[in-house]
């Protein structure tokens, strides 16, 4: 279990995050959702260990890891822009971490991961030859080979097109389920957050606005921000799509 207690972070006297408390159970997919500038990326960096907290504690598996450096925490991240190494081919990217820690994954496990993410045919390609979705899967594979205790994903879907988006969503779910892996996702898109995760944490102005399962958020929004910005957006989308399909249905009915 990952637990944050009274975490606070500010830059140059501007408070970015204030008194953040949260618990994430093992194997859960949790989305951190909020508008840009709300502090969600900072929160991700705090958990990763890239950024030091000003106040409060981070506890993982009963251990205080607040002052444990990033590379010793055993978490891993896929950045929004993937940060793949263009001088190495796909296979070398995936196995990069094994050069430093050869025992972390067996040959078979690497092969399985390659198949799971459908990368077999791309192994010898250069990074620049890949599409956005393929890059995302390579980055995922590279991270998964390191067997992270927690997987962090920074806006994993925002650079992808519609259909690819859905397939990557499924892959993320599959991985989290198969490996019983705690996965924390940062996103600004309510639809993504609510359809992808077990729990959604809505952040606004550096505080947690609401934290709960998707149905709770839909049925019992706790405040105006959740209602206005999160639910309203989804309702507009729903109405548009309904209107679209309703039109089609009536046309079909007329034709018959």
């Amino acid at each position: 279990m990952l637990e944050l207690k009274h975490v606070k972070k500010s830059y140059d006297n501007v408070t970015i995050l204030n008194d953040i408390n949260l618990k994430i159970e093992d194997g859960e997919i949790v989305s951190i959702l909020g508008p840009s500038g709300c502090g969600k990326t900072t929160l991700l960096n705090l958990i990763l260990g890239l950024t030091q907290v000003d106040e409060g504690e981070i506890i993982f598996g009963g251990e205080d890891i607040t002052n444990v450096p990033m590379e010793k925490r055993g978490f891993n991240i896929v950045f929004q822009d993937y940060a793949l190494f263009p001088n190495l081919n796909v296979y070398k990217n995936i196995t990069y971490g094994l050069r430093n820690r050869p025992d972390i994954s067996t040959k078979q496990e690497v092969e399985d991961m390659i198949d799971l993410l459908g990368l077999r045919e791309h192994l010898n390609k250069k990074i620049e030859q890949l599409s956005g979705g393929q890059k995302q899967r390579v980055a995922l594979a590279r991270t998964m080979v390191m067997k992270p205790k927690i997987l962090l994903l920074d806006e994993p879907l925002s650079a992808l097109d519609g259909v690819i988006k859905e397939s990557i969503k499924e892959k993320i779910k599959e991985i989290a389920r198969d490996f019983h892996l705690t996965t924390i996702i940062v996103t600004h898109d309510p639809e993504e957050a609510l359809t992808l995760s077990d729990k959604v944490m809505i952040v606004n102005h550096g505080t947690i606005s609401q934290y709960g399962a998707p149905e709770e958020i839909i049925t019992a929004p706790q405040n105006n921000f959740v209602k206005e910005f999160i639910l309203n957006q989804l309702q507009i989308k729903r109405n548009n799509i309904f209107a679209l399909f309703h039109q089609d249905f009536t046309k079909e009915a007329q034709a018959v």
């Binding site: 950024t51 990033m70 590379e71 940060a83 190494f85 001088n87 190495l88 430093n100 590279r142 991270t143």
Partner: protein
């Protein structure tokens, strides 16, 4: 920050130490030296220099000829760049222009002067072809001619580069809005270029003002600041204090021009996107550009033609039969061929040391989380090295390292070159490094890399092209520079350019041209090899 970045701090400290010892201390020493007189610290030296007969005239001459040259260079460079970027001429023609226009950079400026003498002198190659001397070569016109050839490539690259970043779609917008052709030209080409054109003027002015090679050969009785400075320091009646004053005075326009450059940066227009369009068919425009560009390029080539002719005839201009005698003489003369080997050694060492210093400095500013103030120090150093003329560095080194074990060593020349040419390659490095993905170091460290490992395995391979460019920049500049090394090269550490200056005294021009050809051939070879290396690695990517 949890990551301590110990390595980068060590590198940062080393870089700072180099510039403290080899830039700050010498220049401060120069400054104090300029105030030291028989009666202690005073401005007496300054008064003496300014009131002295020749100085103000020389200053006036310098400003006049530098301004005229800068203006001429920028106009010609614009023409060349326009031909490459805005006409429908064949791409091979454009390629030829691009290649030939920058050719003079591969030769030392001191050679330009001798080339002009042998082209336009009383017995010059071109004088004979034209049937008369087109202008008096010693003095204003010779200087201006040399300066224009010297600065044309730099101005051309500057303008060509900015033109490449102008969104050409705006020409279409301007036309559909009903603009007249001239207005379109003004709004979509000249206006976005204004900052760069001004920058080119300033940069060319600065280069002309501080160059020593050209006045050394064609200055004649027409004194400029650079010649005054040389005579004060190494002339028949040297006066180091007065020399220090002249050096400080030379710094003034340099500082002004760099301040102006900084100021002009804000006039640079940035487009979000660069799109190419098909240019309107216009045979008059294309024809005129082709003729003008060809003329410019041919003129430059014609002047350098003598370098290929004079050393291969028995005795110019009287016995013009072909001979390899002079070439063989140089090859067999240990004192001359040894100098060539010295030059290569210095250039290779400069390139490697320069590579490490600029890479380290750029890593600290572009890829570390050090405070902005620390980074600003390195940027400041880059600005300062861009401001300080080579002659001033050379003289400062002369003051501070005479009598130390460093005097007359190759190490001193190498470090001097590294410091002198730091600015441009540093900015090249910084620019490329900051374009690389920000998360690589974090990602790799999560994969168990140490920082050094990531730099070696990931960052450096992706910097390959830039590393080659920086290497070539340092190498070529080390081969052709004369201004700083002339003050610190000793008998044992003579390099080609300083040897050429010496040969001038004995009017051994065959040797001058043969050595110049060596420089040209070496630089071409290095450029060629680096080009092939880059091509092999990165394939046929357009830059």
């Amino acid at each position: 920050m949890i990551r301590k970045e110990k390595e980068i701090k060590v590198i940062y400290t080393l870089v700072l130490a180099i510039f403290a010892v080899f830039l700050a201390v010498p220049v401060l020493r120069l400054l104090t030296e300029s105030f030291v007189g028989e009666s202690g610290i005073s401005i007496a030296n300054y008064v003496e220099v300014v009131a002295g007969k020749g100085f103000l005239t020389a200053l006036g001459n310098s400003v006049k000829v530098s301004l005229a040259s800068a203006l001429c260079s920028t106009v010609l460079a614009f023409l060349l760049a326009y031909t490459v970027q805005y006409t429908n001429l064949h791409k091979n023609f454009k390629k030829v222009i691009r290649t030939l226009a920058v050719l003079p950079m591969l030769l030392p400026t001191i050679t330009y002067g001798f080339a002009i003498i042998y082209s336009f002198g009383k017995q010059g190659l071109l004088t004979r072809l034209l049937g008369g001397q087109p202008f008096e070569i010693y003095g204003f016109w010779g200087l201006m001619f040399g300066y224009v050839i010297y600065t044309l490539p730099i101005s051309f690259m500057l303008i060509l580069n900015t033109m490449g970043f102008i969104d050409k779609k705006f020409m279409v917008v301007s036309r559909v809005m009903g603009d007249h052709a001239f207005r379109t030209f003004w709004q979509t080409i000249i206006r976005p270029l204004a900052g760069t054109l001004a920058a080119s003027l300033v940069q060319c002015f600065f280069l002309c003002f501080t160059d020593y090679g050209i006045p050394a050969s064609v200055g004649g009785q027409y004194d400029v600041v650079a010649t005054v400075l040389y005579n004060e320091m190494l002339g028949s009646v040297p006066n180091f204090q007065r020399g220090a004053v002249v050096a400080m005075m030379m710094l003034v326009p340099s500082i002004l021009s760099i301040a102006l450059l900084k100021f002009l940066e804000r006039y640079n227009v940035r487009y979000n996107k660069i799109s190419e369009i098909e240019f309107k068919k216009n045979y008059v425009r294309d024809g005129a550009c082709a003729v003008a560009s060809t003329l410019i390029i041919l003129t430059v080539l014609a002047i350098f033609a003598v370098i290929f002719v004079v050393p291969f005839v028995e005795e110019w201009p009287y016995k013009t039969n072909f001979t390899l005698e002079h070439l063989m003489d140089v090859l067999n003369d240990q004192s001359l061929f040894g100098v060539y080997k010295n030059s290569i050694f210095v250039a290779v060492c400069t390139a490697f040391l320069g590579l490490f210093v600029t890479y380290g400095a750029a890593l600290a500013t572009a890829r570390s989380k050090m405070g902005e103030k620390f980074k600003a120090v390195i940027d400041g150093i880059a600005l300062v090295t861009n401001t300080i003329p080579g002659m001033v560095i050379g003289i400062a080194f002369m003051f501070i390292f005479s009598g130390t074990p460093l005097q007359n060593t190759f190490l001193l020349i190498i470090v001097c070159n590294v410091v002198h040419f730091f600015s441009t390659p540093y900015l090249m490095m910084k620019n490329s490094l900051s374009k690389l993905n920000n998360s690589w170091e974090t990602t790799a460290s999560l994969m168990g890399d140490t920082w050094i490992k990531t730099i070696v395995r990931i960052v450096t391979p992706n910097m390959f092209s830039t590393i080659l460019e920086v290497f070539s920049y340092y190498f070529i500049n080390a081969m052709v520079t004369v201004s700083a090394v002339i003050f610190i090269a000793g008998a044992r550490t003579m390099v080609i350019t300083t040897k050429i200056k010496e040969l001038q005294y004995y009017t051994k021009f065959n040797e001058v041209f043969v050595l110049s050809l060596f420089i040209l051939a070496t630089n071409l070879a290095v450029k060629g090899v680096l080009g092939i290396m880059d091509y092999k690695r990165n394939g046929k990517k357009e830059k």
